[in-house]
Symmetry: C2
Subunit: 345 residues, 2 copies
């Protein structure tokens, strides 16, 4: 019923091998033959059968992305990068969106099926230890994004440097008493962001003071949530008295900052007049809440993830390639810097 290379071969008066070579841009086909075949291809509006190609060539031209839905905006942005690059490289993208680690395992298993995908991208979650061995064994390329494992290609964000940039921005605005609201130090991002905060202070000749760091771990996500941010802010405001009171605060994430904003409003503390805020992530709501924040290059991370996968496909034996991205400062109202209103995106 549908047109196959046999039909093309018959119609063009050549062999199937030649047809295949034409279609795959093999060099050893004469110009005339190629033209003749391509004419027939067009005339019969031939479409290659994807799975036959894949079975014969042992390549799938398909990759899977296992990515948590709950990251919302990050999800969309990164995915867009992945998708665009996939289109450019001619890959199909199988999306495995998950809501919990259990689902993720199911899809990891599925991705490991022979001949299913050429590679896997795993986002924002910890790779279960049992799959480390499996991926190494099958040598199925795996790229971790917003995650890390020494044995695999990975992409992450320079949290320490980002936190430094955020803190420096507050310093440049003239603040000398800067507090920090952080999430659980059991997480690497929280630790890194605090180190960056500390480094920026010390760079400016200011002391790092433990009593200026407010950590709350209530709620989900190790304290990276609204309620924890609010609790920390209330804690901060309660203690923020006297001559050396903090006039600014660096908050480890936008979601916490949103909670903090609520807490401040409730207690009558004005932002940025009484307290300037810079946070981290640049989620969609950050714009709405006019948060000055550190933006992660989400789209670019998606693009790079696919590039890494592609490179790995070409060269399976290269050592793991780890890339970290530098976040960029997005200035909005919460830090008190004066910006022309049309720049308030």
């Amino acid at each position: 019923m549908s047109v196959t290379i046999y039909d093309l071969a018959r119609e063009a008066g050549v062999g199937i091998g030649t047809v295949s070579r034409c279609l795959n841009n093999h060099p050893s086909v004469s110009v005339e033959t190629r033209a003749k075949v391509l004419e027939v291809v067009k005339r019969l509006s031939y479409q290659p059968h994807a799975y036959a190609q894949r079975l014969a060539s042992k390549k799938t031209n398909t990759i899977s992305a296992i990515i948590p839905f709950f990251t919302n905006y990050f999800f969309i942005q990164v995915l867009q990068g992945v998708q665009d690059k996939a289109a450019e490289l001619g890959f199909d993208l199988i999306l495995y969106g998950v809501n919990n680690p259990l689902q993720a395992e199911y899809y990891l298993r599925r991705s490991l099926h022979r001949g299913h995908v050429d590679g896997v991208m795993f986002f924002s979650m910890t790779l279960p230890e049992s799959y480390v061995a499996k991926f190494q064994q099958t040598r199925l390329p795996l790229v971790l994004v917003d995650a890390y494992h020494p044995e695999f290609d990975s992409i992450s964000v320079k949290n320490l440097e980002g936190a430094m940039m955020a803190t420096r921005h507050l310093l440049k605005l003239g603040h000398t008493s800067i507090a920090m609201i952080n999430a659980s130090l059991s997480t690497q991002p929280a630790r890194d962001r605090m180190e960056g905060y500390r480094a920026a202070l010390e760079e400016a000749g200011l002391p790092f003071r433990n009593d200026r760091v407010f950590v709350s771990e209530i709620g989900k996500q190790d304290g990276f949530n609204r309620e924890a941010g609010r609790a920390s802010m209330e804690d901060l405001i309660g203690k923020n008295v006297g001559r050396d009171r903090a006039t600014a605060v660096f908050i480890a994430s936008d979601v916490q900052a949103l909670g903090a904003l609520e807490g401040a409003a409730e207690l009558g503390v004005r932002v940025p007049e009484d307290l300037a805020i810079v946070s981290f992530d640049d989620i969609e709501l950050a714009q709405h809440a006019q948060l000055t924040t550190m933006r992660q290059p989400m789209y670019e991370m998606g693009v790079l993830a696919l590039e890494k996968l592609f490179a790995r496909l070409k060269n399976p034996d290269a050592p793991p390639s780890q890339t970290t991205f530098l976040p960029s400062l997005i200035v909005r109202r919460s830090c008190g810097a004066r910006v022309p209103s049309e720049q308030l995106v």
Copy 2:
């Protein structure tokens, strides 16, 4: 290198046909043989080769979803429904996220490749006329979501009824002078939402007045954007004087409502005290802005989309099945209804 059914057959001392029948739950295999084969399957940790299966069986167990990224929250929610149902039915989902109709065409073409996917889902865009014929010709199942064409299965939202519900809610709160802010009447949703508004008014014995409808088409998306909402609100407030001034407004979309909120704040009009607002969509920001709005059952739409595709696969000759969903009222602060604070989600 990898385990094939030939290995299984040899190891279990049976023929490949029997192995295949075991794997596919064919009835005509004796209980003992099946047990023996399945034991070997487990022992050798056999994984079927997806593409070989697909080539031989002429089924792909894969569907593609062509969906615009710019719908953001809608995108995520619907996708989640699609994905969950796909997982349940054992389908893989190839995601083709697009940013413009041109890209969409590319992916439509790609989806039409022989043996590539079993079906296509097309979201929130108008199906190009040239593809109508192609899909009918190839008989590749196509489901339209948040879109409509008489010849295909589709899922959409009851805009008219939703607008009626929104307006009725304001009526029930005691408002008798209700304005509307709308987007371009060149779009079906805008027309339907206005008709619903009109119907609710007339049902209550109130006149529909053209001077109470404010339309702005500035910006993108036919006026379904922030700036247009703001402009309309400023227009409304400027004219909203005298005894019969409007005390409430139904706004055709949340994004417009967000702009309207800004405009109102700027002009010193309090929401909901001076002006109650109900809008439409329930995007993520609606919660943050405390908008009372009409929620579309996005997740359910995704699920149903896949169910429709599945049904079409089973029964290619059934007449097109069109489903419309009824949106539901989400009460928050912007309408002025008193709700216990813990319900303010």
